[in-house]
Amino acid sequence: MLQSPVDANMIIFLGSTGVNWITEDCGSNIRVINSGRKIKEFLFHPSERNWMLASSYTTCDDFDDEPCKIYKELYVSQDLCETWQFLEDYVIQFSW
């Protein structure tokens, strides 16, 4: 469970099977986060409410014709998890 530093009513629930949830009103409404990947780590922006960073590990399904490589990728969303943009691969740690 991660609480937004900007909006105290917003909490993100990271699931263990790749499905994650968000509430913007302390649980009255809970919806699934659209990520498309299994989120490993999650970080709210300290001042922008709708911005967030998320990391995800690659899986062997990502590589069709080349050897499987497992590494961490970093994604950013600026619209409250509606869309995600790829930022960087082979990431070890990250912060805003």
């Binding site: 469970m1 609480q3 105290a8 009513n9 909490i11 629930f13 699931g15 263990s16 499905v19 949830w21 302390c26 649980g27 809970i30 919806r31 699934v32 659209n34």
Partner: protein, 137 residues
């Protein structure tokens, strides 16, 4: 004589009600309630000391607590808190922890809906691709 008997009966009722009130406030231990959300809960209150204690049982050791809402709302008594257990179960309470809801059903329902939506989108594209492919052949 009648007046004396009425007085005695009234006095007996008054004493009985006083003892009952004393029992509920002094001992205050209610039988554990079971519900769908929480395995069992019991509460005890000691109004003389102004302390109210609620005992709630969760399915695994406590991992995390998050208090939701801003400070202004909390002062109005609208506070909500979430509890995460070691088993990955999330409970929430909207009344300072007196009653608890297990959010498993909510998570499952929204998660399943999302999975179904993804499946439908995949099937739609798959079907469209097949139709285009076969129309060219």
């Amino acid at each position: 004589m009648k007046k004396i008997w009425i007085f005695v009966i009234l006095a007996a009722l008054l004493i009985d009600s006083t003892v009952s009130a004393g029992d509920s406030e002094g001992k205050g231990m209610q039988t554990p309630k079971s519900s769908d959300s929480v395995a069992a809960s019991r509460s005890t209150s000691n109004k003389a000391e102004g302390v109210e204690l609620n005992l709630n049982y969760i399915d695994a050791p406590l991992l995390d607590i998050v208090w939701c809402g801003d400070d202004d709302k909390q002062r109005e008594g609208k506070e909500t808190l979430f509890v995460l257990t070691n088993k990955g179960t999330v409970y929430n309470s909207n009344d300072l922890g007196k009653t608890w809801n297990k959010l498993r059903e909510t998570f499952l329902k929204t998660g399943k809906k999302n999975a179904t939506d993804v499946d439908n989108v995949y099937r739609f594209y798959h079907l469209t691709f097949e139709l285009i492919f076969w129309s060219f052949i």
